[in-house]
């Protein structure tokens, strides 16, 4: 994932504090830190770290912390008397989260460059011409063969959403991989990868929209697709329309 590589490079150059305290941070650590942040912190702080007024996690400046040690302590112990909860993180995990917070500052919070979008128009495109609901679910609409987009606005930054639309192959999250297989009798099988071990693969089968285990020794062939089954919308939607869709996706913050 090139994003972390860029981040890491700029982290070491542009952020003296991180360079000084955050030694031993690998791209994998940053990726892990980002996942923890998106899963456990973004619900309150927003994926861009800007949702709580007076707190700007993307800025590299903190009211209650100077160095990384203090930040780690906040992440682990929470802030008593405020909604900021303690988290059951090891020192190593807390370090990854802090490294990710630092990296947000290094990438300038990942602000968008396109024209301002209109969420209403975006909604119309998603439900209509974009055919997004052929593969995605939003609330009670759509199908479940692609990733669930309900609440995606709480989990992803606008820049990441934009990238998913214009360059879906660039980054496929481990949660969103697609398996293609051929059964012994030649039947093609496609589905979302849910789990895998030495002997079997668990998928959400695209044809039947049901849970299914594939036994590897009963398959003629199988692969995890490197390319996204999602078409790129670059050129298919105008720059303005892409911004509209992104605005709409960002607005999807409900769980259902």
């Amino acid at each position: 994932m090139d994003f972390t590589k860029v981040v890491l490079a700029s982290l070491l150059i542009a952020s003296p504090i991180a360079a000084q305290e955050g030694h031993g941070v690998s791209p994998a650590d940053l990726e892990r830190g980002m996942q923890i942040f998106l899963n456990n912190c973004a619900g309150c702080h927003g994926p861009d770290g800007d949702l709580i007024s007076g707190v700007a996690l993307y800025s590299g400046r903190f009211r209650r912390a100077q160095g990384d040690n203090e930040l780690r302590r906040i992440v682990q112990n929470g802030i008593a008397g405020t909604p900021m909860p303690p988290g059951n993180y090891t020192d190593e995990q807390a370090g990854m989260i802090v490294a990710y917070l630092r990296s947000m500052a290094a990438t300038g919070g990942g602000k968008l460059t396109g024209p301002p979008g209109n969420a209403e128009s975006g909604k119309a495109i998603v439900e209509g011409r974009g055919q997004c609901l052929e593969c995605h679910r939003i609330g009670r609409q759509g199908t479940i063969t692609g990733p669930d987009l309900t609440g995606i606005g709480r989990m992803r930054r606008a820049v990441d959403l934009e990238k998913s639309l214009v360059d879906p192959d660039a980054e496929i999250r481990p949660d969103n991989l697609t398996v293609r297989a051929v059964a012994a009798d030649g039947t093609p099988i496609t589905g979302r990868l849910l789990n895998m071990d030495t002997y079997s693969i668990q998928i959400l089968d695209a044809r039947s929209a049901s849970l299914r285990t594939l036994k590897k020794d009963e398959l003629r062939d199988y692969e995890v697709m490197k390319k996204s089954p999602m078409p790129s919308y670059r050129g298919k939607l105008s720059e303005q329309e892409i911004s509209d869709v992104v605005s709409y996706l960002v607005s999807l913050k409900e769980q259902m």
Partner: protein, 544 residues
Amino acid sequence: MNARFLLLTALAAAAASAQTPFERIANAAKDPQNWLTYSGRLDGQRYSTLAQITPANVKDLELKWVLQTRAPAEPNSKYEATSLVRDGILYTVQPPNVVVALDAASGRIFWTYAYDPSRESRPCCGRVNRGLALLGNTLFMGTLDGNLIALDARDGHLMWSTRLGRPEEGYSVTVAPLVVKDKVIAGPAGGEFGINGYLAAYSAETGKEVWKFHTIPQPGEPGHDTWGGDSWKHGGGSIWTTGSYDPELNLIYWGVGNAGPDWNGDPRPGDNLYTSSLIALDADTGKLKWYFQFTPHDEFDFDATQVPVLADLTWHGKPRKVVMTANRNGFFYVLDRVTGEFLLGKSFAKVTWASGLDEKGRPIRTGHSTAEGSIVYPENQGATNWYNPAFSPRTGLMYVPCWMDTWSVYTSRLEPYQEGNWYSGGGATHNIPALRPGPVTRRLPETAWGAIQALDPETGDVKWQFKMTDVTDSGVLATATDIVFAGGREGYFYALDARTGAVLWKTMLGGAMSAGPTAYAVDGKEYISIPAGNAVFTFGLRDE
């Protein structure tokens, strides 16, 4: 490629995916490879007609898979959930509210949905959940903080969430809901926090309430006069173990929890309907058809939350539709389930709170909870409790997990109601810890012991008894091959001969069992599954 993917997804949308219409649940007896509802069947019998595992080969059972969880199971977060199985997928709930969908043959996980209950939750007796309900492609779960939620069974996506009560006031939902037709039936727990209980039906589609039956009659409702003064307001009447359903009579049978405050009856003069009662409700309207109160004016925390077992028996020569329950209060009851008529009642453990039952089934009261404290049998946890029983139509016997020779010192105290606080009106000592304190026991069985008892519904006689040194919180399962599967606090999981109680097979799982076993089959192979300690263990016959 993209075009083909689109084609596939279009097909997926068109194809009716693996569905569980209600008819499939109603016909569970003919569909034994699946376990679609809490008791496996709507009649509450927990009887499986799978016949591959027999007394002759049960010793060849071997462990097929284990689901390890990280939940701290003991003593507070017991694994009480019965697993559901449909078409080779097993759905379980790790305490408190983590739903896992996995491959029922291999144990490999498909998805996990972790619900994080509010810190305001106030469960009386552990961060527990007793399992899911299923209809179509939707799973239903109660949450520790008072909600009923619906999930897409295919990917764990949240469909709706309905609030049954505020956790700040002690409302929680631990019961495995029951699906009846297009409705989900459930109600709140919280009998130790002075809740005002009810059983309600919600649209499976939207979560909207369809009907509500107040287990504590509200002003103007019949039965309200069984509560002196304002005591009805915090009268308890909780719901926390799953009921049963008779499709022919279209009646739902459900056991109601204790009266509040638990151990002091003085502030609530009267019988305190419908606490410690069995209620029979019309499934479409929630209207009361009949009720039977086992423990009027309860002072011992004797919830009637045992699974009501429905059976069609030849009873003293005549065909009878009955409902049976071995009650926490120590008596085994047989009632006519059409009318609620009392047919039989007999104690199955040592009882001193009543000297017996009169001809209507009302207890002849001999024991009370007192200010200075009184020793009364059975103890506060009762002679049985939420651990589900089973019934075999082949042997005609009811199998009940029991606590034998237990007593408590029941003490009553005047305690004002304060929102969110424990509202129990006193205390009860335990001569056995209510929750297993750990894997070591030095308590001698003289001070109380555990048993699986086989009761004869015609006489209430104990046909056989399987004794255990420690007590049991485990449900039981009966099979068409005359095996009873049962567990206990010691960690043994047993296959017993359903006709004699002899041990056919046993294995040590290293943790207490607090849930009911399930039987199911995948690709023609039968499995027996039960949670123990932190994990779910699944057994099958050795492959040839």
